[in-house]
Symmetry: C2
Subunit: 364 residues, 2 copies
């Protein structure tokens, strides 16, 4: 019986029950093969670690990663009224149209990586039913944006559960034709709820965690910190209860990301987690079901100062560090190539015995 989740539904509970640690036999078999590759020991470093992880996650010596699916979760944020972002809320919906037209950063980088892009309306402030009816986006809308968390909860606990369940449903629906998922987000103002989530779940201070989001100046940054302190004081999210944190200071798209990660783990597939907002979703997911962390691949270290603290909490070293701060899943799309490369190392490189190459041990 799980504690701290008084509202957990049959669906959530059944999903959690499907999540086990990765298979240690496959991890060992992969390690044994990698030890014998025609190269100095573990000479491809982090990509060999990743190959072991992928073998354990997928229970396979040839981890399938060909069918890559980026999922961009979309939501708006009432806290934008506090002046915490340089961009107006309308941009969230405008960017959804940009995604659908294929003109955004995530479209370009997903194409490069051979990944598909799906957009999920979790809580955009604009009515996107036209796009949803045309099959161009997926609608899982919980509401037209969160309430202003500087004055109270972002959403009800019921809505938080619905958001996580919606993310799981997306993963379940896509899983039969997807090998690996990548998370993405779009929501003007969403570094503020994400920072509140990280502060709550890592214990780090607002001062050290808060960054410039889409480009705040010094004065705007100081204001954002003041707003964040107020958000935590007013809402008092319970660090022991991820659903409480999501409901009080989260966002609909952040709940969707948490659900997508949980659903991916339940389907025993790897999920590449993008930047600051996605990692906030991952922290919620790990709080709800700690076993999911072994299914998470951290794509990159973003420029937001709180990102390192989040990744440390999850226990995951990011693959890339390129001063990215876009979101949308762009870092995750970039990392897909490294995931594919790590599988190529495991499956395509010859062993010393195969290639007739002298091992250092056998010749010294």
């Amino acid at each position: 019986m799980k504690t701290n989740k008084p509202e957990h539904t049959d669906f959530l509970e059944a999903t959690y029950q499907k999540i086990f640690p990765p298979d240690s036999d496959y991890r060992e078999k992969a390690t044994a093969r990698l030890d014998q590759l025609t190269m100095p020991h573990w000479a491809l470093g982090d990509l060999m670690d990743l190959a072991v992880d992928l073998a354990g996650i997928t229970r396979s010596m040839t981890p399938p990663v060909e069918r890559k699916q980026m999922v961009v979760m979309v939501g708006d944020h009432g806290v934008i009224a506090e002046g915490v972002s340089k961009f107006p809320s309308e941009v969230t919906a405008q960017m959804v149209y940009n995604f659908v037209a294929g003109g955004a950063g995530i479209n370009a980088l997903a194409r490069q990586a051979g990944a598909e892009v799906a957009v999920v309306d979790m809580g955009c402030s604009v009515d996107l039913s036209e796009l949803a009816n045309a099959g161009k986006i997926i609608s899982k809308k919980i509401g037209p944006g969160t309430s202003n968390i500087a004055h109270g909860s972002a959403m009800t606990r019921t809505h938080a559960v619905m958001a996580v369940e919606a993310g799981i449903e997306v993963a379940n629906q896509m899983a039969p034709t997807v090998d690996i998922f990548g998370t993405g987000d779009m929501g003007i103002g969403n570094t503020t709820p994400s920072t509140a989530i990280v502060a709550t779940l890592t214990g780090n201070s607002i001062d050290e965690l808060t960054g410039r989001g889409t480009g705040l100046d010094d004065e705007q940054l100081a204001h954002k910190k003041t707003v964040l302190e107020r958000i935590l004081q007013i809402n008092k999210p319970n660090a022991k209860d991820g659903m409480d944190v999501l409901a009080k200071v989260g966002g609909f798209e952040i709940g969707g990301i948490a659900g997508l990660i949980i659903g991916t783990a339940a389907n025993r597939k790897p999920v590449v987690v993008d930047g600051f907002i996605s990692t906030a979703g991952a922290l919620i997911a790990c709080s709800l079901e700690p076993f999911v962390r072994d299914y998470i691949i951290c794509a990159h270290r973003s420029m937001e100062p709180g990102h390192g603290a989040m990744q440390k909490k999850i226990g995951c070293r990011p693959l890339l560090d390129l001063n990215l701060r876009l979101g949308e899943g762009t870092g995750a799309a970039l990392a897909m190539n490294l995931v594919e490369a790590s599988v190529a190392i495991l499956t395509e490189v010859a062993t010393f015995a195969d290639a007739g190459v002298s091992d250092s041990e056998s010749d010294s």
Copy 2:
């Protein structure tokens, strides 16, 4: 009239004369477009910097990077007699056969990145003419490995010039059908000459630069440092004269890499420089003709401790940091995806005006 290059040939001189700084107009045009993309300002960080570099190098707003060519330069090293490597010299030739069979790390990672692999025998200790005659490798052999640099020069000055010229010839021959080159190396023992090159050209000490290569233990590492101190004392390479450094403490494959980089720059194409050995070649290239540095993309930060000092000297921030220490061009192959991604950002992402998205400036 160039000084410190008394031996420079007509061919070398003509090549140097073709190398100019990248085009500042194209850099400005690329920057102007990137400033207008539908994302917060410069939100894709280092990849946007790279896109500007590529526009300037290729004199194009759509930098061609589709035809990717890895060139693995091969050479053996007399200094292996001093016990500075865990692997025997025979492994160099064995690995060439592994490259030709497609079973090495570089083969797997080049395939993933959509890059071709060419192997050039610059100075393998084994006769590889069978492979060369069959068209499976390119022969530019200067000699069957360098002399032991713990006792004297690696090669004559004439041979050093021939090695650099051979690399330029490879670049020139391939350039009509290649958009971007990647460097690679294979040569058991070659971290030792590379460290000697870096110590000479950066002024850093042997102690701080020397690493474990393919996996030395503490005692072997201390021995390698002693050997390296002796190498520098005996040879006294002239830091103002890259050709002297190459001749005295270099390697045939390192000269080939330097030439490939110079030849690539002369053909106004970008070159992705791999790890420790390739970067030693790049330092030689920059010493011979400083303008080449603007054509260099540093692929990754290797585990060898001297690598950071080398990249600082070249003035290039590496794209990846994955604890790689293999060489062969593996890091450069991995970085090819990021190069392609940076071009996708420049060429495929919509501007605010194109997409009808509100810019922060125009709405604030």
